[in-house]
Amino acid sequence: MNLPDVPESAHQHVDLPGGLTLDCGVTLRRLVVAYRTYGALNAERSNAILICHALTGDQYVADKHPVTGRDGWWEMVVGPGKPIDTNRFFVICTNVLGGCMGSTGPRSPRDDTDSADPPRWGVDFPTVTIRDMVRAQKKLMDHMGIARLFAVIGGSMGGMQVLEWASTYPQAVFAAVPIACAAHHSAQNIAFNEVGRQAIFADPHWHGGRYWEHGEVPERGLAVARMVAHITYLSEQALTRKFGRRVRGAQALAPFGDMFEVESYLRHQGSSFVRRFDAASYLTITRATDYFDLAEEHGGTLAAAFARTRTRFCVISFSSDWLYPTSESRTIARALNAAAANVSFVEIASDKGHDAFLLDEPDFHRALAGFLRGCAEHAGLPP
């Protein structure tokens, strides 16, 4: 097992009654959603912010990760006095459906057998969509008694969930902040995901998806998938600045050893990733992002996804992001205009690529904080 040490039950979670019927038609009889919260819900239950994590993120937004021991992935943005101020807002982040940090996913025991000790779902876990992920989150909000979220915020795949929230539950979202994302995956996005998936399939430890039964993990394949993906998260400028053509050690012209610094960096990214992520989850979630097409869910017109919306939107992109370029965000902003929605749209100048939304970008943080402050005023939240 590549995710040792932390049993699923160790994650804060709730077993939601009634299961969940997925877009693919399958009903999950057991729906567990793992989550973290920060700050306090006010008496009116009006100050809740849902943060949606990215493809390989998880619910540990602003506290120590139980597996890696590292700081939360958005500590810079979420916390007391931070742009998403936990002194003011009650922040929730869930592990997505299909994930591997405690929510129902390929690592969960099958719920469609009568066995007392059912096997894990593995690759038989049903296909999930971004909308399924959002439905699972909505169930948790209902469980918590939160009828309307003050804001839903997320970057990358998290941004897709934000769009889906605003479209599927418009009454339940006062403000929406889709960051560095798109309303559908381009052929290029799908292509990069497919390289990652094929790398996993090609690993001899994959065993046709039955790697658990063999006590093995397709580590190499998953690491290569992560390496390819990681390249798409960075800009050429960022890679050049970090590594250039610098060579490690003095072994000139070694054929295949660790030679260029960028190589060993990527290998490190790959090998540390497999210690915290599951291959079947990676397949499930990348598929969900590929299937996502918000316009198609609404007769081919993106604006129709937001018809008559009252939600206030802030669409944010980064100038050097080539995975979800600004043009994708502009498409979203224009569709929102066509729906006469209240929309702010800003492209943050950064040379850090897609990853910029996770990094120290003062303009981004100022814009996010200001947008939330303005919305709080409109929502009548006490300062």
Binding site: A303, R312, C314, V315, R330, A333, R334, A335, N337, A338, A339, A340, N342, V343, S344, F345, V346, E347, I348, A349, D363, R366, A367, A369, G370, F371, L372, R373, G374, C375, E377
Partner: protein
């Protein structure tokens, strides 16, 4: 004018005078789109003092960032490319201040403004001002004044017009001029309100409120 109570806000005392004149044309509680809104001074003012649902479009990304960081609904975009998406009649007023002369297709921009908005409020520097005429006549070179302050090869003002030109355009496009006035560079109202010929000589800027006739 009501002075907002919140002292950190940047609009209160220093708002450009022509924006004050524009704000005075706008009915409280209406929906407003300000094209070329800069850091959002006017829309903030309209929200705070008139309860308007005011939004902005701005081409300069640094200004957009500043506006959004102030909590204002501003999006990056420009008059030539970002009006066609809006549905018909989405706004009560669409404002274009000191920008008409810099857009690529002024006539199309006006058409879009009056498609998506009930009324258009437009201000522009008047190329018919006596100083501009005098400079061209005397020196035979492109005029440089405090309003037209960039050399011809650097100016973003690719479609200058005069107040009379604008009246003529409104007539040919079938727009009713509901209000108009000439103002000086600081935005102070000039006394030529009844005489467009005088305004065209002495007004540094024209300010118009239009609707479809």
């Amino acid at each position: 004018m009501t002075v907002p109570l919140d002292p950190v806000r940047f609009v209160a005392k220093n708002m450009r005078l022509d924006l004050t004149l524009i704000a005075a044309m706008i009915e409280p509680g209406t929906r407003v789109l300000d094209i070329g809104c800069g850091d959002g001074e006017l829309i903030d003012h309209l929200f705070r003092t008139r309860g308007c649902d005011a939004r902005g479009i701005e081409i300069d990304m640094a200004e957009v960032t500043r506006a959004v960081a102030h909590g204002l609904p501003v999006m990056h975009g420009d008059a030539d490319n970002d009006l066609s998406q809006y549905p018909d009649g989405a706004f009560d007023y669409v404002v274009l201040s000191r920008t008409l002369q810099a857009v690529e297709r002024p006539r199309e921009v006006l058409r879009q403004m009056l498609r998506i908005g009930e009324r258009a409020i437009v201000s522009f520097p008047n190329f018919g001002h006596w100083l501009v005429r005098w400079q061209l006549l005397r020196s035979g070179r492109m005029p440089m004044t405090s309003v037209w302050d960039r050399p011809w090869h650097e100016t973003p003002n690719i479609h200058p017009c005069t107040i009379r030109d604008f009246f003529a355009l409104c007539e040919s496009e079938g727009y009713a001029v509901e209000k108009w006035l000439a103002v000086d560079e600081a935005g102070r109202r000039a006394p030529w309100r009844r005489f467009s010929g005088l305004a065209n000589v002495f007004g540094e800027q024209g300010l118009f409120q239009l609707r479809k006739a």
